[in-house]
Amino acid sequence: MLASYLSSLLCLGPAADLEPDEPVAAPAEAEAATEPSGEPSWSPPREEPSAPSTPSSSDDVAQPFEPTPAHEEARPAAPAAPAAAVVGQTRVRPDRPIRYRIDLQIDGGTHNIGHRSFEAYSLGRNLPGLSAGVRVDFRLAESRVFLGAGLAYRRYASSRSIYELTIDQELLVQEPLVFLRASFAAFEGLDVYLEPGGGPTIVDVETFSSRSAGQRVVTGVFNGLAGVALYLPKAWLPNKGASRVTGGVDLGLGYGWRAPIAVAPTPSTDDEPLRTSSVRFGDLALRGFIWRAGLFLRFM
C-alpha cells in the first residue's frame, strides 16, 4: 500500500479533459470504485492477537499482549478535487478541464521573397530563418475556440557573391514579434489557427568589395499566418485525462510584408576620413509567402 502510494506521487497533475461536461468521478465514488472491498481509503491495521510469549528462564515476567492502540483515526472523506484515488496500487488523478495553454515553440522555415531586389542577397528567392517564442491562449467560454497572444524572436539570414564573386553581400533580419492567435480545436490533438502579428524588423545589409559598407534599417513587419498544430492527445499520455503537459508540431503558412528599405550602405573608413558616402543601391522589398514548421511544448 505504501508502495502504491509512492508510485501515485510520480504521476502527473490533475486530469484534464476536452469535454468539461463529462462528470468527474467524485473521490468517494473513486474510492468506492477502487476499493471494491468498500473499505475507506485508509484504515488502521487489523488487530491480530499474538501468541503468549514463552516464559523465559530469566526473571522476566511474561507480559500479556496488548493490542497496539490506534494512533490515527480514519481520515474523513477528502474533498472532491484534487484528491487522487488509489486503484489497487496506483494513485489516479481526476481529469482537468483545459482552461488555458502555454506553449513554448521553436521553428524553422523560409520566407519566399517575391521582389527581384532580393536576388542581390540570395541565389534563390528563399530567405531561411529560425524562430523561438512563447504564447498563451485561453478557452473562450465553453467552446472549442482559444484566443491568445504571444511573443517571438525571429531571425533570417542570407548571403551571396554577385558579379562573379566580385562583390559579397550579406543580409540579416531580426524581428521581435507580437502576435495574436485564434485557435479552433477540431478534435483533441489538432488545432487550426490564425495568427496575425507584427513588430519592428531590424535589417542589416553589408557589401564587401575592396572595402566594406554596412547599413542598419529599422522598419516594420506584418505577418499573417494560418496553420495547424498537431499535438499528443491526453489519451496517449501517461496521465490520460490528468495530463498537464503535451507536445506537438506546428505547421504554418502565410504572408509577411515589410516596408521597402532604401539601401545606401555607409562605407568603412579610417580615422579622420574625408566626407565619405555611398550611392543609393535601390529599394529592397522583403515581402512574400512564409512557411514554417516547428515543435512546441504545451502546458495546460
Binding site: 542581390a120 528567392r125 554577385i162 557589401t207 576620413p273 574625408l274 550611392v279 543601391f281
Partner: protein
Amino acid sequence: MLACVTACEGDDPFDGPLEVMGPVATESTLVYTDLGRDQLVFVRPGDERLGVTRVSVDDDERTRVMWTQPTRDGKSVLVLTAPTSDKHEDVEKQLHRFAATGDQPPVVYPVHAPFDAIAQSPDHKRAVLYFSGQGSSAPLQNANQVAIVDLTSKEARNLTLAGFGGRLSSVHFPGQAAAGESTSIEVGGRARELVAFLAQGEVVLVDMADPASNQVAVTFGGAGFEPVATMLRPGNELFAQPALFLRSNTGHDVAMLTLVGHGSGQGFTTQISLIPVGGSAGDFVVHDGPEVPYLVTASAAKVVFTDVRTHQSFEVGLSESVSRVYLRDHDRSGTLVRQAVAWTPGGRRLHTLDLDGIEHTLGRKAHELQIQTGIDALVRLDNDRVLVGSGSNLYVVDLRADQVTPLTARVPYDATSSALDGNLLLLGTQGQSWLSRVDLTSLNPESMVLDDSIRSFHYLPAERKIVVTHEDPVGHVTVVRANDPSRSTSYSVWGILLEGMLDR
C-alpha cells in the same frame, strides 16, 4: 511550387561579371561604360554631392559597345556599337554621340564597319573612324575603309581610300594647329578642310567639307620614304600655294606637296618635291620670316631653316641633339617675337632661339635652360610655361622669365597627369595617395592627402573639379575643388557602379 512561381521570371540580373570600361572625362562628367548592360554611367560632381545617371546606349539587346571616347571639346562622348553576333545581319554598326551630361537623346550615325580607332579634328568639327590594323572582329575587313563623321550635324560619310594598296596607319589633320579654331585651306580658289591618311609609303588627301571632291593619293614607294607626320602651310604672299609637308623617320628629306587646283576646275592635285634637311628630321614647324617662308626642322644637334621656295637652308648648332621643336610668342621687353623651343626626351636642356631676323644674324646661338636630371616628358601648360617630368623631380619652366624651378618629390610624378586651373598647377599621379598643387605665381607647392591611392586623375573644366578614381570594382571616386583643393572641401563616394542595382 510557390518558389518557382515567383522565381521563374528570367535571367538573374546579378549573374555574370561586372564589365566596366573607363572612365573617360568630358568637360563636366566622368563617364563609365557598363558593357554588361550596354549603359553609360554619367558621374557629375557637385560641390557637396555626386550625381549618377545611367543611360542606355541602345534599346536593341543584340548590340554591344565597342569603345567610348570623349570629344576633344569635352562636350560630348562618342560610343561605337556593333552586333553582339555576326548572325545578327540586320543590326547596324553605329556611332552614338551623347551630350556630356547624358540628359539628351543621342545623335546616331550609321557607320558600315566596326572601326577600332578614331581621330578627331582639332577644330572639334569632325571625327574620322578607321581600322588601326591591330586585329579585327570581322571575318573580312577592308583595311582602308574609313568613316568621316560631322560632329556638328547628323551626317556621316563612309568611303574607301583610293590609295595604292598600302595599309592605313594614321590619320592627321594638317591644317588645324589651334584647338577649337575652324580652319580651312584655300586650294585652287576653293576652301577645303583636308585630312591626310598616312599609309605604308603613301598619303591620301581627302576634303572633308566636299563629298564630291576627289581623293589625292601620293606614293613614295620607290624613295624609301615612310611618312609619319604632317604639317600644312597655308598659302600667303611669300608662297602662294598651300603646301603639305610630310616627315619620315628614315631618310634625310622632308616631302613637300604643293596643293593646286585641278585643271578641270573640280577637285585638287599636288606637285611633289623632296627637301633635303641635312639629317633625319625629328620634328618640324613652319615659320614665315619677313621675306622668306621657312621650314624649320630639328635634327641631330641643330635647327635647320629651309626656304620652301628654293630649298636652300642654313642651320643653327646646338650643344646636344634635339628631336622636338615648337614655336611660341616670346615677350622680349614688351615686344613679341617668334621663338623656337627645341628639346629631346632624355636631354638635359631646353633650347630657345629667337627667330626675328634669324636669317640676318649669323652666329646666333640658342639660349639654354638646364634640366639637371634629364627630360622624361614635357607638357606645355600655356604659351610661357612648360612642365618637365624627370624621375622624382618636376621642373616648372617659365620661358618668359627664363626661370627653371625644380620640385623634388619622394616618388616619380607623371607630368602628363596634370591640369592647369588658372595659375594653379594640379598633379595627381597613378599609385600616389595625394594630390599636389603648385601656385605658378609663387611656385609654392602643397599636397593634399587622399584616403586611397589614385587609379586615374581627371580634370573637369566646366565644373572646376578634379575627380580622382580609386581601385575598386564598384566605383570609388574623390572629388576635389580645383581652385581650393583641401580635405575640408573634398568628398569621397563609393559604390558608383552599384547605383540603382536593386531597381533593375
